[in-house]
Subunit: 233 residues, 2 copies
């Protein structure tokens, strides 16, 4: 059975944060929380009467700062992050195939899906995949900075994400059009950047995007590599 996460949104950076609730209704994991919303997110955990087991990051974000460090501090949760992202203060460094366990028998599987950044991962839980900036609804993350690679992103999406069952729900790290959720089946057939496109065609398309440098990158990446806490903290 397919259980949905609680999906939270940051209007400023169009970032989604997710709360995954264990079947026992007592234990939870949060993915990609946003710094300015740590009190809102903590309030959600309190209202739902949940104990936070882990704070997960999909990658070291360039467009917003995480609240992982803050949430870890106030809840006692552990931070679990992709091993290739330089997020050194986290308790758990995750590699492809690792499994995070929480609640009574909940399992989150780690898929290393490089491309947006070299360290990016996706998380698989109960028929849902949390794709960060690797696969977006009808799109994908950019691949032109932070060790990004269009070839790697193509292989991650085609080889790993599109190999999941068609009914797998796709919960992205961002959306800019009011969309919330998709499926692997739909993205395989319709994704504007990745469906029915060769690796070379995809590389040309991504190379031609010519996007401006993210405004916050020089602040956000070092901050996120420290779980959003001030350096020296």
């Amino acid at each position: 059975m397919n259980t949905n996460p609680v999906q939270l949104f940051d209007v400023e950076s169009s970032t989604f944060t997710y709360i995954l609730v264990a079947d026992d209704d007592r234990s939870a994991v949060i993915i990609d929380p946003v710094e300015r919303h740590w009190e809102r997110d903590l309030a959600h955990l309190k209202r739902l009467d949940l104990t936070l087991a882990y704070v997960l990051e999909t990658h070291a974000h360039a467009d917003h700062v995480t609240s992982a460090g803050k949430l870890r501090e106030v809840t006692g949760a552990q931070a679990a992050v992709p091993s290739g992202c330089g997020i050194t203060p986290a308790e758990v460094q995750l590699d492809d195939g690792d499994v995070i366990c929480f609640g009574a028998g909940e399992r989150i599987e780690v898929l290393h899906t490089p491309g947006h950044t070299a360290g990016s991962v996706s998380y698989l839980w109960r028929g849902n995949v949390f794709t960060g900036d690797t696969l977006l609804i009808d799109g994908c993350g950019r691949t032109d900075f932070q060790s990004g690679s269009s070839a790697a992103l193509y292989d991650s999406v085609i080889g790993k994400l599109f190999a999941l069952p068609d009914t797998t729900r796709v919960w992205p790290g961002h959306d800019y059009k009011g969309q919330s959720v998709s499926t692997i089946g739909w993205e395989k057939r319709h994704n504007a950047r990745l469906a029915n496109r060769s690796k070379a065609q995809f590389a040309s398309l991504m190379a031609a995007l010519d996007l401006p440098k993210p405004k916050l990158i020089d602040i956000a990446v070092p901050a996120n590599q420290n779980l959003g806490l001030p350096h020296g903290a």
Copy 2:
């Protein structure tokens, strides 16, 4: 077990729309869809490969126009609405205690919860209650127009909604602070307007709010009583 809905948001009116997905992953119901997002919502149904069984309204909204009529037209779903709201073109007029069935064994129970409007209802599904503008997170809907009544709202919340199990998840019709979900237990203990307050105290508080008339009320209510379709359509 507690299955979450898919929660969608309209930034302009801060309205939540919900998609309830049957356990068989094929059939769905949508609650309080917003006119300007009918294509977005239809795209969600397509991406999740769902057949829409019903469009539900919690009441005749005064702050935005519904897409119920449009979604009914394009999907073949039935419109099911509270009987006391004057929404005459709907196929199903719902009363307290009615049950809406969809998918393989899904049951949505109708709770008549007057107060914001005389006809307002809440919907109960799998440990989730969709409260429209009756009960909001840490607040409640206004009671000063459209046959609203603070006494009725107090009785609805205290007598019906707060009588649900504490773990019941509360999914409101609006939120203005980035919040998404609460529980009956939390609202009973902490709701700023309704927790630990007598009916007389609540009536005084609501009478003192002195809110401006909703800008869209003279357009939205008649439109919503026609499922958001032009009159004569």
